[in-house]
Assembly symmetry: C2
Homo-oligomer: 285 residues x 2
């Protein structure tokens, strides 16, 4: 497949992420169809030039003409949706997703899928603390990372097309990881950090705290505003990798705590020097 604007793109699930994909593709000149549960979502998206047409159910005709289908649904819903509706897909269609956990999704979808369509998983590492198509904004992709997680079932062409989707949408960095390596990494940089933010907010119920707070606390808890249904599902889907990361974090946290307890300034300073050096690599260019 070549990603040109003759291709029909269908977005299934028109929330923040699906809406932002639609917006980005539409600006590039693609014709965008979408499926969303609520008619109001579709009306909003059409009025705001985010999509060209929308449907509240899996219309066979719409599914049958889509060359590229992007799933912006919750993980379990998305797997079931594919199983229920795949008979309508166009032969040769390319399916991709935005799910934050891969190992427990990719293999299940690929093994259930018809042989003449291809599912290639991707994780756009962008987001906001708000939801819904009303907050869709393709600019969240700019400067962000995008990861494709192919398996042995994927073709080189699909991998390249999926990377190209990331580039077209304006991601700063597109890369390829195995589903397993992706989940290990995401357990650390995304899920563990959300665990920490949620934990911090559960430590203290003093409503006056906001008057004594500096930017540090605000930074560490920005992501504590969290979609509890989605994130608890993602945590459970990635349970072994996330538990491993939580243990690793606790080991290092205990090392710092022991150093403080023992007045071991040297160890504290060494850990701070390491963190300072490593963190310098992470500033956005």
């Amino acid at each position: 497949m070549m990603l040109n604007t003759n291709k029909n793109i269908l977005i299934v699930g028109l929330g923040l992420m699906g809406g932002s994909y639609a917006m980005g593709f539409k600006k590039l000149g693609f014709k965008i169809s979408a499926i969303a549960r609520r008619q109001e979502t579709i009306d909003y998206a059409i009025e705001n030039n985010i999509i060209d047409e929308g449907f509240t159910g899996p219309d066979p005709e719409v599914l049958g003409k889509a060359d590229i289908i992007v799933f912006g649904l919750y993980p379990q819903i998305f797997i079931d949706w594919i199983k229920d509706n795949q008979q309508h897909f166009k032969k040769g269609a390319l399916l991709t997703d935005v799910t934050g956990v891969k190992g427990s999704v990719v293999y299940e979808v690929q093994s259930a899928l018809r042989d003449d369509v291809e599912f290639i998983a991707a994780h756009p590492m962008a987001g906001k603390e708000v939801y819904g198509v009303e907050n869709a904004d393709d600019r969240i992709f700019h400067g962000a990372n995008y990861i494709v997680t192919p398996t042995s079932k994927n073709t080189p062409e699909a991998i390249e097309d999926c990377l190209e989707i990331g580039r077209l949408l304006g991601f700063a960095n597109v890369s390829v990881l195995t589903p397993e390596k992706h989940d290990e990494m995401i357990g650390f940089v995304s899920q563990l950090t959300h665990c920490i933010a949620v934990t911090l907010m559960n430590c203290c119920d003093d409503e006056n705290l906001k008057n004594y707070t500096g930017d540090s606390f605000r930074d560490l808890t920005r992501i504590a505003r969290i979609n509890d249904k989605m994130w608890s599902e993602l945590f459970i889907m990635n349970k072994p990798a996330l538990l491993h990361q939580m243990h690793r974090f606790e080991d290092q946290f205990d090392r710092l705590k022991a150093a403080l307890l023992n007045g071991d300034e040297q160890t504290m300073r060494e850990m701070m020097q390491i963190s300072t050096t490593r963190r310098a690599l992470f500033d956005k260019k």
Copy 2:
């Protein structure tokens, strides 16, 4: 005392914080003297209109005419400096500081101090990850919190003057706490968060991590670039309160970890709902 521009203000220690105080006061029309170790610091500050005059040592004449002295030094240096030089202070002078820990500073300074000058502690909760007068910027105070921590030795007038300093410098919120309550609170919102950021960066030495990182990880580790000398000193000065906060954090973290381990989605979602509700209070207006 009334805070009008006839008062001579002396800044001791012309780093990021001392420099930002100087800059803010100077814009208000005060005449600013400063003491810094290096002549280049003074030259830079004069050339950039941050101070009016500067000295590399505790010039008795300068100390003798200062109505307000702001200490922007490291905690232990600052305590020794006051003990060594207090004989030169002007009768009735008001001394204040910017130190991030209070209990282990305030009582020691006040008990060592001459009876005819007054030390009233304050904590401007603002900062950057960079240092030095070259990065001074009084706009870091805007939108930030400022806390005065008086003891029974302080007069109502000094408390009011110290609050007024915070208001004049443009802090969004000025408040009063006991040194003990301040240290408990700062152990939570500031020191614990720095511990977490440092710990996170010590968990992983994969240099490719930056290609797979979203904003969450960047947010939680921004403060991992840390002045190791200053922060290890601050941690040790606030050891009991910080250890207490580290234990509280671990208790909640373990609760979340156990919920994940047991597949207890209900507890995870409750913790996330609490964090979402509480965090909503913390956005800057």
